[in-house]
Symmetry: C2
Subunit: 354 residues, 2 copies
């Protein structure tokens, strides 16, 4: 049934029923003109981010579940990048009248799945119709005592990243090249912890195919990225950002705000086995994917170089951390495998750029 036949009020009532939660800090939750939260002892960390159909996602390969999940992750990632703990969620959803009710609830299923992982509560928002495209916006409020900005890096600090970089961009390239049948498979399968019989994915522009075991981590990083927990990292970091637009462009933001330069060793960039394999099949430039791919939602941070710190950071319990370079005085350079220094090209996604 189209949601236009269900009606806004009935949908909102059900959202309220499904998501109403008890928490000593929530004085007024979903259902009034605004939500009310009890005074917090720590600083408030607030971010808001949107995702638009045809710009941030494509319904030919993204399911409503994926979109809901990712909307929450990209916002939580911003809170994590400040060293905050995500707490409360507000949603603005505009969606076409002829959307199937089942799809609508799949969106909320993705949202709920992510909320559960991050331990956040939905406190309010707005639901309305859109003329053409779906547009989603989320606001996440968090709390934090030790705040890590982009502006705290000092000359000599080491530069670190969590996880692997480039997987998301590689996954996106793959998605765009898949046959319609393979896109459907992805749409119906990718979900964290999914354990269905591994399918084989076909490309539309070449006879090659790709194994699910190779494809899945890359597609997952693009479709349902998990925001990285910064609670351990924040104890050590001097500056931090999440990689949304691309490693180099986001590193340059740290450099800009900290008024420093950076040197990156290209052979230290953490590149996954799956990306190496898939990039070769697709004829993609590994370094370009890693340096400028974007949407990794890994944390990029700097930390001082005391020996005990270095070993603590490289042995964090919560996740794998890789040192990829160091903060220098002014220049922004990369060092290639041969040890040659080259200027860093800070490319990445930019809206409105012709």
């Amino acid at each position: 049934m189209h949601i236009s036949r269900v009606g806004e009020l009935k949908l909102l009532k059900e959202v309220r029923e499904r998501f109403s939660s008890t928490d000593a800090d929530i004085l007024i939750g979903i259902g009034d003109d605004a939500a009310v939260i009890a005074p917090q002892k720590e600083n408030l960390v607030v971010t808001t981010d949107m995702m638009n159909e045809g710009v941030h996602f494509d319904l030919s390969y993204s399911s409503f579940f994926h979109i809901g999940f990712k909307l929450i992750s990209v916002n939580v990632s911003d809170i994590m990048a400040m060293g905050g703990k995500p707490r409360f969620l507000f949603l603005n959803i505009s969606i076409k009248k002829d959307t199937e009710e089942e799809a609508f609830w799949k969106l909320y299923e993705g949202i709920a799945y992510a909320m559960d992982i991050y331990g956040i509560k939905l406190l309010g928002g707005d639901l309305c119709s859109s003329k053409n495209d779906m547009a989603l916006s989320a606001t996440v409020l968090g709390t934090g005592s030790k705040i890590i900005t982009r502006g705290g890096a000092s000359v000599g600090d080491r530069i670190y990243v969590t996880g692997n970089i480039g997987d998301s961009a590689c996954g996106l390239e793959m998605l765009q090249r898949l046959t319609d049948e393979s896109k459907e498979i992805v749409k119906n399968s990718i979900r964290i912890g999914d354990t269905e019989t591994p399918p084989i994915l076909q490309f539309s522009d070449s006879p090659i195919h790709i194994d699910w075991n190779i494809a899945e981590p890359l597609l997952r990083r693009h479709l349902t990225p998990l925001a990285r927990d910064s609670s351990e990292i924040a104890q050590y970091a001097s500056s931090m950002i999440d990689i949304s637009d691309g490693l180099f462009i986001d590193l340059c933001r740290i450099c800009d705000e900290s008024n420093v330069g950076a040197k990156i060793y290209l052979d230290k960039l953490p590149i996954s086995y799956e990306m190496r394999f898939a990039a070769e099949i697709m004829g993609l430039d590994l370094l370009h994917l890693a340096a400028s791919g974007g949407e990794d939602y890994e944390l990029l941070f700097t930390a001082p170089t005391e020996d005990n710190l270095k070993s603590q950071i490289s042995n964090l319990k919560s996740q794998r951390i890789t040192c990829i370079g160091e903060i220098i005085e002014k220049d922004r350079v990369v060092v290639d495998k041969a040890g040659k220094e080259l200027p860093m090209k800070a490319e990445g996604y930019q809206h409105f750029k012709a």
Copy 2:
């Protein structure tokens, strides 16, 4: 110049420069992954609301200034409706690549004009391209000690509204009927406190015209509504809501949450001289406009009936208040001029309703 030629980063940089502000409570403002606000002693009041092209506004008669102004007002109005004081603003703006840079800044001019009136600071947000329509979303954080919900009305309480009701719906009807030339006049003129030579507006479907002095307050209430200040009202109110979907539908929300009924005296509804005049010219039903029009952004509240309270409320310094009825046990009724009781028809705008 199209904003696609200016580029996202340059636009964001300029937004940051224009809007960066100092405030002891703002620890990190625009420009990092998230904003950071110092701990607040009072409760936090949070709301978020969106406005979409083709659904909430029409660029044939709304200027970018109007849209920016209204986006802030509708959010501030929700904070006011809880008895909160608006403080901080977050914006998500998705806009077409071929938008003129001048139009883009007009949007921010409307936003800034409203921010100044309400005394709120911009702390962050997101700017991105949209494929088809403009979609805007704002989040406002406020603070408040005495919170007024929809759920506090008791049998015997009087029901009050601020200002006039129906003006916005009447203004919208007018806008939709104007000739293209008259729409252009409105687009370029309506601004609070505007004092240009009064033009005459023409309707496209009839030979009648309407004087600017009549039209302006109605068009203004629709295009650039001012949120009502609730700081005095909150001292007296037992329940409160802002009228966004329509007087009766919003009153029913108070009844639902407070588990009470309501009786409204139709001849007490505050209807402006301008609306009476314009509704007659356009052949519109005055009571329908007032009861179900929506988008008035007036405050609807209840308060106990002690004599001293009644006189204090009717003599508030900040604004005109009208008593329109009383809270009763169960039924929801209207009383017409002849004293006859009829069931209240709670009609109003609902997204997705076929």
